[in-house]
Symmetry: C2
Subunit: 247 residues, 2 copies
Amino acid sequence: MHFTSEQRFDDGVLEREFTLGEIPGILWTPGSASASAPVPLILIGLPPLGLHKVYSRVAGRARFYAAEYGFAAATIELPGSGERPRLAALEQARADLRRAMQAGEPIGDEIVAPLVLPLVDLAVPEWRATLDALLELPEIGGPVAYEGGVISIGIRLAAVDPRIAAAALFAGTFVPAAMFEEARRVTVPLQVLLQWDDEANDRQAALDLFDAFGSKEKTLHANLGGHTGVPQYEVDAGARFFTRHLK
Amino acid sequence: MHFTSEQRFDDGVLEREFTLGEIPGILWTPGSASASAPVPLILIGLPPLGLHKVYSRVAGRARFYAAEYGFAAATIELPGSGERPRLAALEQARADLRRAMQAGEPIGDEIVAPLVLPLVDLAVPEWRATLDALLELPEIGGPVAYEGGVISIGIRLAAVDPRIAAAALFAGTFVPAAMFEEARRVTVPLQVLLQWDDEANDRQAALDLFDAFGSKEKTLHANLGGHTGVPQYEVDAGARFFTRHLK
């Protein structure tokens, strides 16, 4: 992990861009973080839009977690997104999705699975390698939570990596049928966000997914509005969920 | 409104029992409340079990709101509950419900409407009279929120009384079909609690009710577990919802 830039904000939060091999990412740590007082970590999963496009939203959340709740937060660019090399299979799957949507066809698993599963297969090992590197930093302790992004990546990561102690997931992207089985193997405390009128996401499928999770403690927060309308107060609700489970 | 007892706790909260005509109730005010710094008010609706039976749970919430967030909180006994005179029509409706449940029959609107609508018709004017009296106290200012209890009472009260600025409702009791129309007339910010595995409440009906509310800002918090299993952290989530809308 190489740090390529750093910036200290007025609220004490340190923002550092890094690369891990070919993966670009950003790490935010609170002013209070030090080798003698390491802090818990929140991994922020991105949508497949490119880090630059979602920077202000993600950095706003990360700095809030750091400044108000004393968490470190980190994010990495998804495979095939932003400045990273395009992946032919993903580009094809996205083209197939666009074509189906424009034609008004139902979006079935034959569209969703090729769109999501290869991304999960690539992204989860990258997240785990990033987590290895982050946990070597003396100012970061643990436990670790995951939030945001492509929900299937969060499901796989929470199911396979025992270092993930809690997850706040956004039910805002297509979930392949195969991921429902993996959801049953997730047992950490969960907070699941659902936009009640999400144009791009089926409400009943999201409720079925919430039902499928194996976790004993799981909470669904459904808010009125479309895909991009997650209310600002859910950031605070997320921070309080993490505080219950990471501190 | 006559105060019949008072008790000051270590956290500064003052608990006063009162009667308003034949209605017994309890008012909690924070140590900080005074005529010069009146505080917002949360009305806590009870289940039809009698105040004594639910006192510790309700007082725990009320004292948390008062001590941690500086709200006043008040509750009143429902018509036909606790020490109040039994109401023949309600007793009959409850007997019909018990019989239907024991027989394993589906609980339709012909059971639910006589059970709930007379209670709503009686309780809502009592709440409004209580609110009149509470708002005359110099230490209570406003705005006012409603939480808890028989959800149909909260729906009617929020729909008809413009002093109710926000409501946190527990979708844990039967809702007559007629109340879905009234729900459409509720426009204040809402937080709706749903127990995902509530033995006594139909999940789909609760989701349909959430959908029916006319409010532009509404959030559903669904938690795993049965009717009595609402997690403790939802009290804090409620307090933060009220803080957003009452302060």
